[in-house]
Symmetry: C2
Subunit: 335 residues, 2 copies
Amino acid sequence: MIGIDIAKTDKNLGERKIIEILQSRLDIMPKMPIPFGDDVSAYAIGNNYLAVLKTDMLVDKTDVPLKMSLWQASRKAVVMNVSDFAAKGVKPLAILVSLGLPRALRKKDIVEIGRGLNAGAREYDTFIIGGDTNEASDFVISLSLFGIAKKDEVMLRSGAKPGDLIAVTGSFGKTTVGLKILLDNLKVSPKIRKILVESVLMPHARLKEGLALSKTKAVTAAIDSSDGLAWSLHEIARASKVGFLINKLPIAEEVEEFAEINKLDPLELTLYGGEEYELVLTVKPKLWRKAEKAVKEVGGKLLPIGKVTAERQVLLKIDGKKRMIEARGWEHFKG
Amino acid sequence: MIGIDIAKTDKNLGERKIIEILQSRLDIMPKMPIPFGDDVSAYAIGNNYLAVLKTDMLVDKTDVPLKMSLWQASRKAVVMNVSDFAAKGVKPLAILVSLGLPRALRKKDIVEIGRGLNAGAREYDTFIIGGDTNEASDFVISLSLFGIAKKDEVMLRSGAKPGDLIAVTGSFGKTTVGLKILLDNLKVSPKIRKILVESVLMPHARLKEGLALSKTKAVTAAIDSSDGLAWSLHEIARASKVGFLINKLPIAEEVEEFAEINKLDPLELTLYGGEEYELVLTVKPKLWRKAEKAVKEVGGKLLPIGKVTAERQVLLKIDGKKRMIEARGWEHFKG
């Protein structure tokens, strides 16, 4: 074990700063097809095809709310990785799993973990083909996804152009509220309680939508919303060097009801949540109908929420008034 | 966080049992090109090529000896994954890294981790192309490797035939002894101390050897020796449904010297160690010279240590007497 001097801790270094420090120490592969900082990585395998790779780790201490079962946590680890593939329009073909397991886990816990991982994989028509287990203090699930995609069909964060429409694949705020209900026992009607809590415990990745959209070539930039809507917008804005004017906030109706009863700000709940797995996309205006149709055909929806602007600000316009959408969202090592 | 009831722990479930339980809950991908339980996994990408994938996790608590720096631990995480690719004769083309980081880490620690990961990748002529960081109690490095290989050039564990020669790429026991020196402060001359400790802190993967051997088509089965020589032999024997007769144990000379001074059994140190990254291979007798030459040309060596037998026992013959080599080696969650 490595001795760590707690007294000398850099407080709140923050996940994004840590990633920046790490990346600055890495030699960069020449002609890397997808730059650092997008949702997935890639290796060019010839004939304009990419091997698409993704790894993401779920740690129970920070990523798993109390009351989530091991089955649910294991399934969620798959969903959160698949969601990144969904945002890029890439089908996951195979999954590897590396587990860190506390010694205290019993046989029935291991069974639950295996079943949860398998359930997640099968939901998205893929398989777990290998992995590794280790002893650890936390329950850790590190997944690696593999897929193959045509280079020009991968939806990056960086292609948004002024005039493009901004769209999302569903409403926002449910997981933020669901987490509040699980943690703080806030007031809520039983009917919507179930929907909100379910959004936390049983998230779904928008894979069908992402795959359908990538074929349309209508999408200029895309990201999943796992760090919250506001953060996702800012990430596309930053990577694409554009701004956004949001004129229709996709607030979930359950969130409006909950906010009213508990006197909370529905905008805050909708914009600055996290652990949501909707897609946030920018779409060429001329191909909007094509994109909308493609998503409908796979049983999903595409909600327009605003426009890409040349001015590099992320703004929200309500009742004729503009206000800034802040660049904040869920981040490890903080809060 | 998930509540774990420590009182009800299944004591010593063991890593191999845990993997067995997990695998039995997974649906198996049809026509999986490499079965569960080999060193790497694969997905058939057409034209007889495989995408080769590997994930392995290093957890400081169990995998990192005291006195190993963060730079060394990070580099080692790469080496141990590359070693599995080496054993299969597959070149790693790209690496993804998923980190679990305790809050106590400082900026200079993060810098060291980034540099160590990069050093490991560059040593084997590959790059880190993406990843993810998380907060965790342990320092955890989960790596994913990607490569492409011709299907018939991947050296599996399962092809050994009676009459094949058994070979290793170097001597054994150094890391076991090196660990003892680091942990128990045993007697040793300064000259060999450095060699033994270095074998623990700065391991090397036999990638050149593995790549050269896979081209010869001389190798019928292969594995890396990260769980010890005895375990590696038993794994090939099990997967290939054969036995082994070892007649020349590859004891490192430093290990012989150390064993003599400290009155330890050199056989024990050589057979039942771990964290060693030599390759253990079976070779077609007719192609032995070709294999030996190929390894020499890349600056390595191939040491014959015995023969594959039809009788399914793993035996050691010394001074005319045969004894069993036990199926034990390093295992997480035990000891």
